[in-house]
């Protein structure tokens, strides 16, 4: 599904060069729920931006859904994002003067789907996140948790293969964070691959696999929900990842 090999990303300013990712290699297979953790500046968001084709990279290879996306044009990358990737951001990133229906409609508009199909998908997505009755509300009329659920509805309305979540609970209190996490787990259970960046170890441990980044490199990988003997057996069999086997 997602295979990054020796990815390098350097941010250039007039005075300094910042190595955000150093020879990063990460592989995520279809149906996985991966949490990416790490301290600030460890490269989590850069990794997620590259994974979501929001940023380019200097070196390395990136295969997304079996296709090498390194050489895609800007238009092709836009199309890829629209067709295959759903985004969930820490600060929700809803458009304030569009109502919930219109916010969820944004990526579908760019896909040029017929009106009836768009409506059906939007209604279904908002039903999934429990906000179907508030379609005509604007984001300011919702709580933070509800706004994030709208953002999730927007991400899943396009039925993406791949959901990228950047600190999706970072701006929420504990109760709302758990509600959002449960929603993500439900979406994952329906077959969507999720890669989530988070600071919260408790939430990270609810993922099938955690990847810890330090200074732009993978420091550690863990499978928090798999017993050690299953893990060992899988390693011996050479199969990756293991979360699919749970």
């Amino acid at each position: 599904m997602l295979q990054m090999t020796h990815i390098q990303k350097i941010y250039h300013t007039e005075l300094v060069q910042t190595h955000a990712l150093r020879e990063l290699s990460v592989s995520v297979t279809g149906g996985e729920f991966v949490a990416v953790t790490g301290s600030s500046g460890s490269g989590k968001t850069t990794f997620l931006n590259i994974a979501g084709l929001l940023e380019s990279f200097e070196h390395g290879t990136y295969l997304l859904d079996g296709e090498n996306v390194s050489g895609l044009s800007d238009d092709e990358r836009s199309n890829y994002r629209n067709q295959k990737i759903g985004f969930i951001f820490q600060s929700f990133n809803l458009i304030p003067d569009l109502n919930l229906f219109e916010n969820v409609d944004v990526p579908l508009r760019y896909r040029r789907l017929p009106s009836s199909e768009r409506r059906q998908r939007i209604e279904h997505a908002l039903e999934t996140v429990g906000l179907a009755s508030r379609m005509k509300h604007i984001p300011a009329q919702l709580s933070g948790g509800q706004q994030q659920r709208v953002a999730i509805a927007r991400a899943i309305a396009g039925q993406p293969k791949f959901l990228l979540a950047d600190e999706p609970t970072g701006n929420l209190d504990t109760v709302m964070a758990h509600q959002v996490m449960e929603l993500l787990e439900e979406i994952h259970a329906n077959g969507t691959t999720i890669v989530m960046v988070t600071h919260d170890p408790e939430l990270a441990n609810r993922a099938g696999r955690t990847i810890q980044l330090v200074d732009g490199c993978v420091q550690a990988e863990e499978y928090p929900n798999i017993q050690e003997e299953v893990l060992q057996a899988a390693r011996l069999n050479g199969s990756q990842p293991l979360s699919a086997q749970i």
């Binding site: 968001t45 931006n49 979501g52 929001l54 940023e55 800007d74 238009d75 836009s78 199309n79 994002r81 629209n82 067709q83 985004f87 951001f89 820490q90 600060s91 990133n93 458009i95 003067d97 569009l98 944004v106 990526p107 508009r109 760019y110 896909r111 040029r112 927007r154 950047d166």
Partner: protein, 438 residues
């Protein structure tokens, strides 16, 4: 997608009403000024009778002083009017398909209702051919025929406005009207007719209204009608009677002809030369042969109906529009920069650069359209001001549909041009630029 972009544009305009108002105002003022001057120029320079402007000719004969030309600055030009008796004879010779001598006069109308006061009305004293020559539309009746001209019958054709005033707009054909003690029979009422410029008499005002009424040229002698227009003379003549005035060398009559085709033009000039040569033998026309015929457009150019300063003014007003558009560019840039986060999000969600570019261009187009509509109101005010300034309350300088569409079109296109650079800047925003910070 266009409809969606229009919807987004309207939302965006509401989001920042002050900025939007400034942008709309900048475009509206630019459009208001430029289209006002353009409309005036357009009205001045338009062909008032395109269907036959190349078949209608104004005639000039050089009956001026042998010692100096009529116009020292343009010595090749003959006087722009002819003498009464030359016009009378040329009409009688009838060498063209139609011919009309004419001048402006005024008569006192005695009211039909004894309680009303007499009032003065402007009259065009002319030949019966005038109406057919200039395609004058009638609501009732028509013009008079040649027999009325020949017999100097007291007949009158009223303007729609005068008929409204005298007869309440009813069909007044056959009714009688007393003017200067003479009873005139109404033979026709013309419909709304405002040729702009008033090509048949630019000498007395190309942008004046059409006269209140029309009466036969032959009545001049009978009623001793005085000209209310301009008259020019060069010869010191003793004039003690009206007949002497009519036979003087003063030029105060406009003379127009209609030919069957442009090929007849040279033939008619030859006819004029023959006429003048004959007059020379009688001791008149002491200058060399210098007769001219001008079609309608040439006649407008002769009288500089569209003055050069009008063209300069149009240029300056469009420069002002450019200045307004530069302000719009600055405001658009500010507005679009304020939408960086939304643009970044839309890019992340799959909008291509082209899609973002189109969205912004549609937005400035909608702003331009709004500016164009408000600009049209300013144009209407500007034209009212011009009419007031030039004392022309009849709506001669008016906004027609072509100018309305031109105004809105210019507003939309120019605002889109003004939006190109800001839209290009916005569509270059990378998708990840603002997502973390929103």
């Amino acid at each position: 997608m266009f409809k969606y972009n229009v919807k987004l544009a309207l939302k965006s305009m509401r989001r920042n009403p002050v900025m939007t108002a400034l942008m709309v105002a900048a475009i509206a003022v630019g459009i208001g000024v430029s289209i006002t001057t353009l409309t005036v120029y357009y009205m001045m320079s338009s062909n008032p009778i395109p269907e036959k402007s190349d078949l209608l000719f104004a005639i000039t004969l050089d009956s001026w002083s042998p010692l100096r030309p009529f116009d020292d600055d343009a010595p090749e030009r003959a006087p722009h009017q002819v003498t009464f008796h030359d016009a009378e004879r040329l009409v009688a010779l009838a060498k063209a398909r139609r011919q009309a001598a004419m001048f402006e006069s005024s008569l006192i109308i005695e009211p039909l209702d004894q309680d009303d006061l007499p009032f003065e009305a402007g009259a065009r004293v002319t030949s019966g051919d005038f109406f057919a020559m200039f395609n004058v539309p009638f609501i009732y009746g028509g013009g008079w025929d040649k027999s009325a001209d020949a017999a100097a019958e007291p007949v009158v054709v009223l303007s729609r406005q005068l008929n409204e005033r005298l007869f309440g707009g009813e069909d007044s054909v056959g009714n009688w009207l007393t003017m200067e003690g003479t009873r005139f029979q109404v033979v026709g009422v013309i419909d709304s007719w405002e040729p702009t410029p008033r090509f048949y008499d630019p000498i007395n005002g190309a942008f004046q209204e059409v006269n209140d009424m029309f009466i036969p040229y032959a009545l001049t002698r009978v009623l001793e009608l005085q000209s209310a227009g301009s008259d020019w003379g060069w010869k010191s003549e003793e004039i003690t009677s009206f007949e002497q005035w009519l036979n003087s060398e003063a030029v105060w009559v406009q003379y127009f002809i209609e030919l069957d085709s442009t090929r007849d033009r040279e033939e008619y000039v030859a006819h004029l030369d023959a006429y003048v040569s004959e007059q020379k033998r009688l001791g008149r026309f002491e200058r060399p042969l210098n007769n001219h015929i001008y079609n309608v457009e040439q006649w407008m150019e002769y009288h500089e109906v569209v003055a050069n300063d009008s063209k300069v003014l149009v240029g300056l007003s469009f420069l002002f529009l450019v200045v307004c558009l530069l302000s719009t560019i600055a405001l658009t840039l500010t507005k679009f920069v304020g939408k960086k986060a939304e643009t970044s999000l839309r890019r992340a969600l799959g909008a291509s650069r082209k899609t973002i570019f189109n969205q912004q261009i549609v937005e400035v187009g909608v702003i331009g359209f709004s500016g164009g509509l408000i600009g049209l109101l300013l144009v209407a005010l500007g034209l009212q001001g011009i009419e007031y300034l030039y004392d022309s309350p009849g709506g001669l300088v008016r906004l027609d549909w072509l100018m309305v569409f031109t105004a809105v079109g210019i507003a939309i296109v120019s605002s889109m041009i003004a939006g190109l650079y800001p839209a290009w800047r916005v569509c270059k925003i990378p998708p990840a630029a603002q997502l973390k910070t929103q």
